[in-house]
Subunit: 455 residues, 2 copies
C-alpha cells in the first residue's frame, strides 16, 4: 500500500524512495527528461533518461529513485517540493492514459463549465477543482463538530417519503413497487420528530428538488446541513445557534484551509461581533432609502435587494453576513411560528452573505391543533403525514431550527461563479453526470444506426 | 434555552433548579403526587401536591423546584438519580399529550413490531429504542474517524443516477423532468471515480434498493458506509483496512456505549487477533465436514451456511467474525478483479458475523479494456456510464474497497431480531412511515365516503 506522498519528499534528501502517482507534465530535453509526478498532496519533479519521454500525461506510475537537492539556480519557489527532485532508477507503469481532451496542468483549466462537467472524472483531478471539495468536507465536518460540542445528536433522515405535504410541484416522483412515492426535499418533518427523541438534533442529508430553472444557484440534488432544537426560550436561541455554527465553520476553514483560500484568492467572509439582524420591513426601508427602489410592500427580497442589503451590512456594520427576520406568514411554510407581537409576520430568519441566501430558519409551531389548522388553511392535507402529527399528538416542546446548503457555503466562501462548481457531480434539469439532451440525442441516433445495421 | 438535564440533578442537592422534559409516569397518593420526569438523559422523580395529578403521561412540562436527598429507605438503586427527588414549587405545561396507545414506561415496549413502527414518533422516545440510534451514530462516527486517521477523505455521492449499469431489476425509477432516472443502489462507481481524485475516500450514503422481499434483514433504504482506496499492493490491503475499521468501531462502541450494551444485555462481537480468512471453497468443505450438507459446488453461501461457518469460527478460532474470500467470478459484479492465481475466483471478500453478512469488498479492475470487455460479457451497456469509463480512460491506480450497512452492524451488535428495529424510519415493500396497504385502503375508503357526502 502506498505510504509516501510527494509532499513528504523534501525532508528525505539522500534517501531512496518509492512514489506513486500520475504523470502531470513531461519536459523532453532528449538526453534528460523531466516529468512532474502528481498525487493528492502536490507535485514533485522526477528526472530520468529518454525512456521517460515514452510516458503520457495522466499515466499512473510507480517511481523508485533518489531524493536529491537541486542546484540553487534550478530551484522552483512556486511549489513546496521545488528545492529537490527525484533521480529515477526505475519506473513502472501501473495504468495508461489516453490523450487528454484539454490541458489540466495549468493553474486554471481553460474550458467552459459544461466541458468541465462533461469531463468531471478528469477535471476533478485538477488541484484547484479538487480543493473545492476539500474545503466542502471541512465545512460539513465543522457543522457536525460544532453542533456536537453543543450537545446535538446526529441522525439519518430518509430520502424516500410517501407524502408531499411540504413541497408542491418541485418534488420528484418515485415508482415504489405498486405505489407512488417521492424524494424528500428536506428532512424538515423528521428533524422535528427527532426533537421529541433527542431534543437537539442535526442531519447531513441529500435533498432533492425538481427545480425547473437553470440558475447559477440552484441544483436538483444538494447536501444540506439541518439542525433542530427543542426547549428553546424563544426563536432567538435558534438564530444564536445558527450564528455560532457559521462562525465555527469559518474558524475551522481558517484553521485547516489557509492554502485553499490563498489558491482561490479569497478569505472567509468578515463577520461583525454580532451579525446584524434586521426585520424584512426595515431592510426594505433601508434599500428604499439607499436606492429609491420601493419594494417595501413585497413579501420577500428580490435578488438585487439581497445584494443591496449585503452591501449595506458591509458599509454600515462591517459584516459580510446579515440576518433578515420576520418574513410574512404567507411566504413561510405552514409550520412557521407567527410572532405574537407582530401579527402577520413570522419568527423566522434568513442569513444572507455576499449577495445571496445561505440559510433559512425559525421557530416552529408545537401545538397540534394549530398545525392542523394552518395546514388546512393552506390547502395541505397534513393528515397524510401521520408520523409528523403523531409527534405533536404526544407532546412536543417549543422548538426551532435551520438549514444550510453545503454547496452554497462552499460557493460563497470561495467566490465561485456557479453552484455547479461546488457540487462534485452536479445535477440540474439537463444534467445527471452527462448533459441529458445531448446524450439522448446521440443515443437515439446510435440506436437507429444499430437498427439499420441489424437489417 | 434548556441548560440542565435530569441526569445532572444528583450533584445539585439543596439547589433550586429548572428542569424541562416529558411526564413519564404519575403516581397519585392523593395528598402527595409523584411524577417521573424524563428527558434524553434519563429520569428524575418530582414530588408535589394534588395539582400534579392533573398532568398526563407525555405532557411536556417545565418544573421549578428544590433538589432534595431522599430518605435512605426511599432511594431507588435502579436509576442514577434515585438518591434524590425534586420538590416542585412551580409546574408549567408547555404542551399537552393525548392518551398513549400503549404504555411506554416499562423496560420493554410490549407491542408487535408493526405497531412499534406505526407509532414510530412515540416509540422512538422509549430509552431502549432511542439507545439503538445513539449506538448507530457512534458506529457511523467511528467509521468516519477511523478512516480519517488513515488519511481517507470523505465525499458526497449522488442519489439520483441516470443509468443502472450496476443493478438490475432492484432499482427504483424516478421521473426526472422529461427523462427517466434512477436511485443509486450504491456509491460504487462514484467512489471509484473519487480514487482518481483523492486516492483514499469514503462516503456515508443513502442507498436505495427495490428489494421485493420482506426478510428480517433487508431494507429498501439503508445508510451504507463505503470506502475505496487506490495504490494498493494487493487486495489484502483492502481486507486489512476493513478489519482495522470494524475493530476501530467496536473500540469506540466499548468506549462510548457501555451502558447501552448493558441495557441490551450484549457485548460487541469477540474478535481474534486476526479475523480468520477462508476461501469460499474451504468454508464449504468445513461445512460439509461438520454437517454433511454438501454445498461445495454452490457459488455462494446459503443463510444456514453463513450461520454454520460463524459457529465454526467461534468454536475453532475464538472469533465471532470471519472473512470468506474468493467468490466465483459469476457471483460478483463485472468490475471485480479475478485472482490470476485462482482463475474463476475473485479477489473479493465478505465479512460474516453472528450468522449474517456485515460487509462486502474486494479489488476492482483498473484497466479500461478489461472493464468494457467484462461488462459486455454480462450484457451490461457500460458505455452509458460515461463518467465511470472516463476515470479509467485517464489513468486509474490499482484499487479496491468495501461497503458496510450501518443498520446491519447496529442490528448484530445489539442482537436485534429485525433490521427494521435498527432503522429510525424503516422502509420496505409495504412501509414508508405508515403501512402502505392499510393506509391506502383506509384512504380510498375515506375518499369514497367523502364522495358520498358530496352527493
Amino acid at each position: 500500500m502506498k505510504t509516501l506522498y510527494t509532499s513528504e519528499t523534501p525532508k528525505l534528501i539522500g534517501k531512496d524512495v518509492t512514489l506513486q502517482g500520475w504523470v502531470w507534465t513531461i519536459r523532453d530535453h532528449k538526453k534528460v527528461v523531466f516529468i512532474d509526478l502528481t498525487d493528492r498532496s502536490g507535485i514533485v519533479q522526477v528526472v530520468g533518461g529518454p525512456d521517460l519521454a515514452k510516458l503520457s500525461v495522466e499515466d499512473v506510475i510507480e517511481v523508485k529513485g533518489l531524493v536529491k537537492k537541486r542546484p540553487d539556480h534550478l530551484t522552483n519557489d512556486k511549489i513546496p517540493t521545488g528545492a529537490i527532485e527525484i533521480e529515477a532508477h526505475d519506473i513502472k507503469v501501473l495504468s495508461r492514459s489516453e490523450p487528454l481532451p484539454f490541458d489540466i496542468s495549468k493553474d486554471e483549466i481553460d474550458v467552459t463549465l459544461p466541458t468541465l462537467l462533461d469531463f468531471r472524472s478528469l477535471s476533478l483531478r485538477h488541484p484547484k477543482v479538487r480543493s473545492i471539495f476539500q474545503i466542502q468536507e471541512v465545512i460539513i465536518d465543522a457543522f457536525r463538530r460544532g453542533l456536537k460540542e453543543r450537545g446535538f445528536v446526529e441522525f439519518q433522515s430518509p430520502v424516500i417519503i410517501s407524502q408531499t405535504a411540504e413541497g408542491g410541484a418541485e418534488v420528484f416522483e418515485v415508482k415504489y413497487f405498486n405505489y407512488k412515492a417521492f424524494l424528500a426535499q428536506s428532512p424538515q418533518f423528521y428533524k422535528q420528530i427527532m426533537v421529541g427523541v433527542f431534543e437537539k438534533v442535526f442531519t447531513v442529508n441529500k435533498t432533492l428538488r425538481a427545480e425547473p430553472s437553470m440558475t447559477t444557484r440552484h441544483l436538483t440534488e444538494a447536501t444540506t446541513l439541518d439542525a433542530e432544537m427543542g426547549f428553546i426560550d424563544s426563536w432567538i436561541d435558534v438564530m444564536d445557534t445558527a450564528e455560532y455554527i457559521i462562525k465555527y465553520i469559518f474558524g475551522q476553514i481558517n484553521y485547516a484551509c489557509k492554502d485553499i483560500l490563498e489558491q482561490h484568492k479569497t478569505t472567509t467572509p468578515k463577520v461583525a461581533k454580532e451579525i446584524p439582524r434586521l426585520k424584512l420591513r426595515k431592510a426594505q426601508q433601508i434599500i428604499f432609502d439607499r436606492t429609491g427602489r420601493d419594494n417595501r410592500n413585497e413579501p420577500d427580497l428580490e435578488p438585487e435587494d439581497e445584494r443591496e442589503i449585503c452591501k449595506w451590512a458591509i458599509e454600515e456594520r462591517q459584516s459580510e453576513l446579515v440576518f433578515i427576520t420576520h418574513y410574512p406568514v404567507s411566504k413561510r411554510p405552514f409550520y412557521t411560528f407567527e410572532d405574537p407581537n407582530d401579527p402577520g409576520y413570522t419568527l423566522s430568519f434568513d442569513l444572507l452573505g455576499r449577495g445571496i441566501e445561505w440559510l433559512t430558519g425559525g421557530q416552529r409551531i408545537h401545538n397540534l391543533k394549530k398545525i392542523i389548522e394552518n395546514a388546512k388553511n393552506r390547502g395541505i392535507d397534513i393528515k397524510k403525514s401521520e408520523l409528523y402529527l403523531q409527534a405533536f399528538r404526544y407532546g412536543m416542546p417549543p422548538h426551532g431550527g435551520f438549514s444550510f446548503g453545503s454547496e452554497r457555503i462552499t460557493m460563497k466562501v470561495l467566490n465561485l461563479d456557479n453552484i455547479r462548481e461546488a457540487s462534485l457531480f452536479p445535477r440540474d434539469m439537463e444534467r445527471i453526470d452527462v448533459h441529458l439532451p445531448t446524450y439522448f440525442k446521440n443515443h437515439e441516433t446510435k440506436k437507429e444506426n444499430s437498427k439499420t445495421e441489424e437489417k
